[in-house]
Amino acid sequence: MEKNEKRIIIRQALNIIVCAAVLGFAVNIVHPGGYEFIPRKKLQQGKTVSISVAEAYIKYSHGAAIFVDTRDEDIYTERHIQGAVHVPSFPEPLSIAKIAQMKEMLFSEKELILYCDTGCDSSKEIAERLYERGYTRHIYILKDGMGSWSDKGYPVE
């Protein structure tokens, strides 16, 4: 077999394998039983975990957690959990700036408990932003938010 013929066969074989790979990955995108590729960084991340008011209060009384109020500034100013820091989810640039400003505190050894009001998404948004910035542990989200905390008569300011 000529050297040139060998080269042509190898090239054709590689082309077939490349076509198979492209076809395989393209079908995998829409295949219901296909593989989902998740970035390794995301796999190493923690998850958001819902925490009840009673459990949150235990962490509060032991000083084991930092409470983060994710509601709008005026609502926070009106009333919030005693000692809670404010990181609003909106507007986004302000939210990102606040996280950057408080990064050392938020990324400390203490656990994070985020809260907003009942049925709101701002805590989840903040949690997502913290994970995007390298936070790797679980983040707690207070179940039923600020309302359930004050209903129990726990300290607010």
């Binding site: 082309n15 394998i17 198979a20 079908v27 296909g34």
Partner: protein, 167 residues
């Protein structure tokens, strides 16, 4: 002795029987590839059972290999790029034979996930028989690689028409 030599020379030159073998093998590969594409995760689990590739590589093999088989089958049936696909098939056979042999030595037994023949009640559990079968298939593809003239093939038609000279 001379007649055996003549038969061998005839096979190497190319005969209708060799072409039929090529088409049958192509259908086997096409079937096996199509079935594997239905459930890549299940095929991935079988690859994992062999215990010879890192878990992180398994999904990539499970996604690509069925389509390599599928295209190999399609090209063998149509007789297009026969030398190239025979080459691919030989590489696959060599890898499969080695993977099965390693697990036979380890004393393990599970469905090899080769040609999905279990659906027809034909056992494909890891055994020395499969090692021999894949070695035979390797030799058949080696033969196909060396065949000069392929009947019922696009390669033959294109060569006759001189279309290969245009590329």
């Amino acid at each position: 002795m001379q007649s055996v030599k003549n038969i061998w020379a005839g096979i190497i030159y190319g005969s209708r029987i060799v072409s039929v073998i090529r088409i049958v093998l192509g259908m086997l590969f096409l079937y096996s590839g199509i079935v594997k594409t239905f459930d890549p995760a299940a095929f991935g689990n079988i690859i994992d059972l062999y215990g010879i590739v890192p878990a992180v590589v398994v999904p990539y093999i499970a996604i690509v290999l069925p389509y390599v088989e599928l295209l190999t089958g399609l090209f063998l049936i149509t007789g297009f790029r026969i030398k190239a696909v025979s080459c691919i098939a030989m590489i696959m056979m060599a890898i499969f034979t080695a993977a099965i042999a390693v697990n036979v030595v380890r004393g393990r037994s599970f469905d090899c996930g080769c040609f999905e023949l279990g659906r027809f009640g034909i056992s494909e559990d890891i055994s020395i028989f499969l090692v021999v079968r894949d070695c035979v298939l390797f030799l058949v593809f080696l033969l196909l690689f060396n065949v000069k003239r392929n009947y019922y093939s696009l390669d033959n038609v294109l060569e006759k028409d001189g279309l290969y000279n245009l590329s």
